[in-house]
């Protein structure tokens, strides 16, 4: 039967399409959130990913002697992307928390920064939860900062608004739709130094630390069963720290100098 033969052929072609797209299996896939998150990772106007975390990734892969591929994924789906094996490593400024450790595993910390609050320029720097009652705090969804804001500010009567990217939260702060934005201090610093941030906003302060929500620094997320990969990344991070590679990379990012805690200077 000709018709059936054609159907079989079409099915075979489809299979080929699926398998062709799975080439380059040997590369380790590093998942980066597809959004601007300066100075750690953002796409420049020529379409290249740049930033401190990207430089570190390149150094890490050279140290591990592995070929790495950068894969863009949505931040709010980055853990499912890891568990469904679309990526092998989460390399996207993800803080190591006990809650996340229930689902995935982490390498050792590769950087750490405090969590800050910025807001409209009005000189008022009281950031106690009681003072923020009735105000709107913007955070990026699924971050440690969101957890913190929910635990302290929402509980005290503030409205917590969640955004799928940090950039959108900053944008709505500049627009005046939210009163405060809580996020990583260095990422917020980059925003405050931008034209948009300079006009509207100022630093309000660092929130009191709470390791149970804010975590123990940023690490590479890996699947629980991938212990070999985790050990390999840990060894490479330790070796890079020994070679003072972290400082070498940070030299190119003056805004991070003196603020960033790395395995070298912790």
């Amino acid at each position: 039967m000709k018709l059936n033969r054609r159907i079989v052929m079409a099915a075979a072609a489809l299979g080929l399409l699926a398998s062709a797209s799975t080439a380059a299996m040997a590369d380790i896939k590093f998942g980066v959130a597809a959004e601007p998150y300066a100075p750690y990772s953002s796409k420049d106007a020529s379409g290249k990913w740049v930033g401190w975390e990207i430089d570190l990734m390149n150094a890490l892969c050279a140290q591990m002697n592995e070929k790495c591929e950068l894969v863009e994924v949505a931040w709010d789906g980055i853990i499912p992307a890891l568990t469904s094996k679309q990526i092998d490593v989460i390399w996207s400024s993800m803080s190591i928390t006990d809650e996340r450790k229930k689902t995935i595993d982490f390498s050792d910390m590769y950087y750490n920064t405090p969590s800050n609050l910025i807001g409209q320029k009005d000189g008022d720097t009281n950031i106690s939860p009681e003072h923020l009652k009735g105000k709107v705090v913007g955070v990026q969804v699924s971050t440690t900062h969101e957890r913190y804001a929910q635990k302290y500010f929402a509980a005290a009567g503030a409205e917590v608004k969640t955004y799928s990217t940090q950039d959108e939260a900053n944008n709505d702060l500049a627009a005046g739709r939210v009163d405060y934005v809580q996020a990583d201090s260095t990422a917020l610093d980059a925003f405050l130094k931008s034209d948009q941030g300079k006009q509207c906003c100022e630093l309000k302060g660092t929130v009191p630390d709470d390791i149970s929500v804010l975590g123990m620094g940023v690490g590479a997320g890996v699947r629980k069963e991938d212990t070999a990969l985790k050990e390999k990344i840990n060894a490479a991070i330790a070796e890079l720290a020994k070679q003072k590679k972290f400082a070498e990379i940070t030299v190119n990012y003056p805004e991070l100098q003196g603020i960033l805690v790395t395995p070298e200077n912790k």
Binding site: M1, D76, I79, S142, T162, A174, A175, G176, R177, Q196
Partner: protein
């Protein structure tokens, strides 16, 4: 002979696959899937459902009200007005709703700081506009979208009413307004009823897009709260799919009921 064998093999393979799939799904539902989060999050889910329904119903009603003049002027209006209406329909139907939504929410938001730098009073005088909840932006975007699609359909419906009926109405001495309200419009509405059901379902299926602009509708609650808080991905999405399926079937059933109640010939 060989073809029959081939057919039998394919058939038994399909049955086997189906049985495996069904057992897999049942096993997953009974043994693997977790539903304990329902107890904590059902108030949020109900609020989300309420927002989804509001967005859907109001955008359909308001969009339809807008669509009537948009369709009418394309048939009888002055040339320039007809051109504007046609242009509006083309632009709405030719671009993704997601992009329209982003343009209306983030695009307009990005203009606020610029406006504020030109008119210093803007932040004070238009505080209500700046603080307008994202829901209203979504409602605006969804209304315009529905008006664009329906405007095109109403144009066809107004054209589809037989000329003889309009002439008969006019020869009875009806004023143009009376012809429109008594004959032309009711007949046109009856003509679009079958397509209207499909369009209303399409509008319902577009509502989850609102979650991308911080609206906490049903999909927003699932993706931006439940999944992020609990790291449970598939169960909430399944629930979402089931709720939308029920709403779709209800809508289709309701429209076929109305269609039967409004006979084609009277």
């Amino acid at each position: 002979m060989s073809f029959d064998v081939f057919k039998l093999i394919v058939k038994s393979l399909v049955v086997l696959l189906l049985v495996a799939l069904l057992t897999g799904i049942i096993y997953w539902l009974l043994k693997v899937s977790q539903w304990s989060w329902m107890a904590t999050y059902y108030p949020l889910l109900i609020r989300g459902l309420w927002l989804t329904l509001l967005l859907w119903v109001f955008s359909c009603v308001l969009g339809m009200i807008l669509a009537i003049p948009i369709g009418l002027v394309q048939v009888t209006g002055p040339r320039w007005l007809a051109a504007i209406a046609r242009g509006f329909c083309t632009v709405i139907r030719g671009t993704p709703l997601l992009l329209q939504l982003w343009l209306i929410y983030y695009g307009l938001g990005s203009l606020f700081p610029q406006l504020a730098s030109v008119f210093p009073e803007f932040r004070q005088d238009f505080r209500w506009l700046i603080r307008l909840d994202a829901f209203w932006y979504a409602l605006l975007a969804f209304t315009l979208s529905f008006a664009g699609y329906e405007g095109e359909i109403m144009r066809g419906a107004f054209l589809g009413v037989p000329r003889g009926e309009l002439e008969a109405a006019r020869s009875f001495g009806m004023s143009p307004w009376k012809v429109l309200t008594r004959v032309w419009f009711p007949r046109a509405v009856r003509l679009v009823l079958p397509t209207l059901a499909g369009e209303v379902v399409l509008q319902l299926k577009a509502t989850p897009l609102a979650m991308t602009v911080t609206v906490m509708d049903l999909a927003g609650v699932v993706r931006n709260r439940i999944t992020q808080d609990t790291y449970i991905v598939y169960e909430p999405l399944m629930l979402l799919a089931v709720i939308y399926m029920c709403l779709t079937f209800l809508t289709v059933w309701a429209f076929s009921y109305i269609e039967k109640k409004v006979p084609q010939k009277r």
